[in-house]
Symmetry: C2
Subunit: 460 residues, 2 copies
């Protein structure tokens, strides 16, 4: 017996088409792109926030637990810094790791003006951002945030993301964060459309996707949370052919997950080998990778007037880049099935290169990452994209990397790449980013800019 | 600079079409469907396997570890039975759980005869199968298997699954197993096509998908491993419309994953509360759910001549079923976003009902599962599918459930279902089963038979 019901098309390019129109719209209905950096600087000045390094003893409500040495907040909320023991095939290591099991919301509100989708972006201060205030999603909220563990004010616009009607949701997917620093962290990446009037607070601006893409050409302007949300949105199917079919790509990925035997177990921070703790930091004895430090944040303009917190600081700037080639006229990037100890499931697709080069500088310290020199030594006319971005400023201090998309050739990046690497099209990467845990957060930053970079830059 | 290269179509219905043709082929080129049960019985007799319950003290090489009480093999391989502590919102419990982190291969070899795909199915004995020998994939191999931790013989046909060429792979996806009994277990579900000659050992037969679907109408004939592999294969897009678009379905699923706060941590088996250990079993004090027992297996016909092992035995038979409705002429089943403590990520889509009813029999013991009575009390003409299947006989003893697909109506299963439930089409379920961790193993059994059941049975 068939019941009458309102059915909808299972798939449709409708959302992708509207996003593509917004991407093609270079100027918005409300704010000129050129004004945005100044507007961010204004908020920086008005906030007058000062971030200072402090000793762990200066942390308020945070302390090392007497039994485990884990760094935790007295409320038991926010996050903890614990130890992680990773066994991976032959290799094995221990490290500090941020544990924050709750799922946060990274949400961007969308609304049509003059027939074009605009996105409500926020001038948001995060203590770890090198320039403090960056263009951020409408909402960045951990559960602690919106249940007010801060004791702070309400999160603006949050109500739009808590129970949207299905037809308002343009994207909603759980995505992983940095597997080298976070233990199995995932956030909900959402874009929700409103049609009614939305009051626009001073720290928010409606921008088209085209404007945001333009701003993504500037160093340290668009924050990580905004980048990952935009990368999660559906793109128009750009190409119907590729070096691998979609199912062959999935089969390759399954093989990569299956061949890596990774066991990661949490352990007491105080017991991790190869790391040392002093008054100001937990750091590796050999000085590589990152350290755990503490900061105080003073000023206005956030949920609370001032606070202290532990934060992770990479020792040097990173390089994150995709090698890019045209095969038979179709763009492909070289993805790497990368193991990170904090991934929920072993490997995710990462950029061709993702490293801090100085970690590999001492002769014989460790093998230099594949393809790093191919990207760094490329002639300028082959660089389609080169911009410095920092990672999530709420947890990472000055975690800057140069994000690159570089056109390469058969000599440096062969059609048949080495094991663990696979050529994928931008469309395939976007398709996989519509599901959880295929595309890592660094690759998502590059995915967010990929189409625009390939259209705009380089000489093909 | 564009490099010449051989590109392929990203997507194509080619594999799905060939599988659909095989499903429509009621008899195969080599073996009549009607002969298969007799052939399985023959192997049962020839194997002459005897499975006996033994006390834990009778286990060979297996023992409770002195420190944790975990049940483990002296080699450190195969699997362990440990404790699990699950905290889920308000509820909290402890239980034994099988820990087997290695990824196994469940592989079916495919080959065309007379233009139709046939699948090489095995008459395989597993000690936990109620009738010992069932129709199984070509290969069921844990890493311990194929690295010979058994000290046994080689796994036949395994070589076809270790490094297939991309164009030979019809499906290859990591799928979860029982989250109530396994800790984060996943297996690789593969179908690999060969074109050369393949020697067919006596315990193997080439069958069409149509033959296997016919056999899936019989109780305890097709084993779980075969069912999940078949469910993972791509089906033809059956419908283009649904109550929810694919992206709305994903957004709903993301919301379900995000709203359940589940924390599961392994703990020593000896410390789990609410369970008791005697000479023969580890069981719940209230007798519900399952127990851990030990068996000896004697006879021939497997990798090794005889062995002992611990095994999980549910206390009673289960009921697993989908409520099914036509909306505007399009079939939908009611999926449940189900939390299981052993899932790698919180929830997966399960059938409408998945339970052992006797666990809920004692008045007031616990709330009766939603929709259970709607399925059990349906009039016979509404039952599209009703067959008893058992779960993986290598780990579960007599774990039988009645698998049901039952046509329901607005009164019992409303168009707007309660939170945690969602109407999905068979095509949507198949689409999600092409990725990891969306569709649980019980739902995959029903997915394997869904199209055939809806075409063949019930009165619509």
């Amino acid at each position: 017996m068939s019941a009458p019901a309102q059915l909808v098309a299972r798939t449709g390019a409708h959302i992708a088409e509207r996003l593509a129109l917004s991407a093609a719209t270079a100027e918005g209905a409300h704010t000129a792109t050129a004004e945005v950096p100044g507007w961010l600087a204004e908020h920086r000045r008005a906030g007058a926030t000062v971030v200072r390094r402090i000793p762990f003893a200066g942390l308020d409500h945070w302390s090392f637990a007497p039994d485990t040495g884990d760094l935790r907040h007295s409320s038991g909320r926010f996050f903890t810094i614990e130890g992680l023991h990773v066994v991976r095939g032959g290799a094995e290591w221990q490290q500090p790791i941020i544990v924050q099991p709750e799922i946060g919301i990274l949400g961007i509100l969308a609304k049509e003006f003059d027939g074009v989708l605009h996105f409500l972006m926020q001038a948001k201060m995060e203590p770890g951002n090198p320039n403090l205030v960056q263009l951020s999603p409408t909402v960045q909220a951990t559960r602690s945030n919106y249940t007010k563990a801060h004791g702070g004010t309400e999160v603006r616009y949050l109500e739009h993301f808590l129970a949207p009607r299905p037809q308002q949701v343009l994207t909603d997917v759980l995505q992983s964060e940095h597997g080298a620093w976070f233990y199995q962290k995932r956030n909900r990446n959402m874009i929700v459309e409103v049609d009614g009037d939305v009051p626009v607070h001073d720290a928010f601006r409606w921008l088209t996707l085209g404007q945001i893409l333009r701003l993504l050409r500037l160093d340290n302007v668009v924050n990580m949370d905004a980048r990952t949300v935009l990368a999660s949105a559906p793109a128009l199917p750009a190409e119907t052919r590729a070096l691998s079919s979609d199912s062959a790509l999935l089969a390759w990925f399954t093989g990569e997950r299956a061949r890596h035997d990774v066991r990661a177990r949490r352990m007491p921070l105080r017991e991790i080998a190869g790391w040392q703790t002093d008054e100001h930091s937990v750091s590796r004895v050999d000085g590589r990778f990152f350290r755990v430090v503490a900061v105080s944040v003073e000023g206005a303009g956030r949920e609370v007037a001032g606070w202290t917190q532990p934060i992770i600081e990479p020792v040097e700037h990173g390089v994150v880049g995709f090698a890019y080639r045209l095969f038979d006229g179709v763009p492909h990037v070289l993805a790497h099935a990368r193991v990170e100890g904090g991934f929920l499931d072993t490997v995710e697709l990462a950029p061709t290169v993702q490293c801090v080069p100085s970690n590999y500088a001492p002769a014989g310290a460790e093998e230099r990452p594949p393809f790093l020199d191919a990207l760094l030594n490329a002639s300028p006319d082959r660089v389609c994209y080169s911009t410095v971005h920092s990672e999530e400023g709420g947890r990472f201090l000055n975690a800057e990397s140069r994000y690159l998309i570089v056109e390469t050739d058969e000599a440096t990046t062969p059609t048949q790449p080495p094991p663990g690497y696979h050529w994928v099209t931008p469309g395939q990467l976007n398709w996989l980013a519509g599901h959880s845990r295929y595309v890592n957060v660094q690759a998502r930053t590059l995915l967010a800019v990929l189409d625009a970079a390939l259209q705009g830059g380089g000489t093909h």
